[in-house]
């Protein structure tokens, strides 16, 4: 039986995949630092409708060890890109009812812009790259959702692969990294 939870911690970075309810304050405490002048957080919750249909619940499934590894990598990339004191991401699995959190992110930094931008970047990147799935149960049906961020990332990787096979192009446009500034 595969493990249903994973916690990874390295330096200023923390990643967790868990079937338990998420608590934002606990995640904030993980990035507390006397050098921080700002804390930014993101919470993703189950909303009650999707495309006019009433959502009953979402059910999340994760490739637990790989998801935790990818979440930790996101924290590390955020720390490399912005001046952060700490970065923490937790994602829940199993049934998440309307109003409950499925994902929480906390970043701390000496100055507010770094924490705010890192938080924004991290949720977009998470939706493009971390192996977690949700099935939506609504009135009269159920469906596996697909993130637009994932589709965009796959298009980018395919184009990149084709460009590499063709060899360097004289006027190849600069590839933008997905997610940032969205």
């Amino acid at each position: 039986m595969a493990a249903d939870r994973a916690v990874l911690r390295e330096g200023r970075c923390y990643a967790e995949v868990t079937p338990d309810p998420l608590h934002l304050q606990r995640l904030v405490e993980l990035v507390v630092d006397d050098g921080a002048g700002a804390f930014a957080t993101f919470t993703g919750t189950t909303r009650n409708t999707f495309q006019g249909k009433k959502t009953e619940r979402l059910e999340y499934e994760a490739y637990v060890p790989m998801a935790a590894k990818k979440l930790l990598e996101l924290c590390q990339q955020a720390c490399a890109r912005w001046q952060l004191c700490g970065a923490a991401i937790a994602h829940r699995t199993g049934v998440v009812h309307v109003g409950e959190a499925s994902v929480v992110i906390a970043c701390s930094s000496p100055h507010r812009r770094d924490a705010l931008e890192a938080c924004h970047w991290a949720i977009d990147e998470l939706k493009a790259t971390v192996p977690i799935w949700k099935k939506e149960f609504f009135e009269g049906g159920e469906v596996w959702k697909e993130n637009e961020e994932w589709r965009a990332e796959q298009r980018r990787l395919r184009d990149e692969g084709e460009q590499q096979r063709r060899g360097p192009q004289p006027a190849a446009p600069q590839q933008q990294h997905g997610g940032e500034g969205a």
Partner: protein, 83 residues
């Protein structure tokens, strides 16, 4: 040699299993995986091109053929929807 294959979400439902063991010729690459998997789990063809593979918890690039060794962990990853 044997490799472990994991299925998730839609690929798990189509395969009717959350994991399987594949017997491959020594020296096989990841390019040999899908033909074998489709033979064992024909319903996976419903995924079309909407999936990626991972090898030992790292994504494979589209069309990438990595050498496999006994005990490797492969996953069939349908479009993700975390967040």
């Amino acid at each position: 040699m044997e490799v472990r294959v994991l299925f998730f979400a839609r690929s798990r439902e189509l395969a009717g299993a959350s994991e399987a063991t594949l017997s491959l010729q020594p020296g096989s690459t990841t390019a040999a995986l899908m033909p074998h998997l489709l033979e064992q789990f024909p319903q996976l063809s419903e995924l079309g091109t909407s999936f990626v593979l991972s090898l030992n918890q790292e994504y494979l690039a589209p069309g990438e053929a990595q050498p496999l060794k006994a005990g490797d962990e492969v996953a069939v990853i349908p479009p993700i929807s975390g967040g």
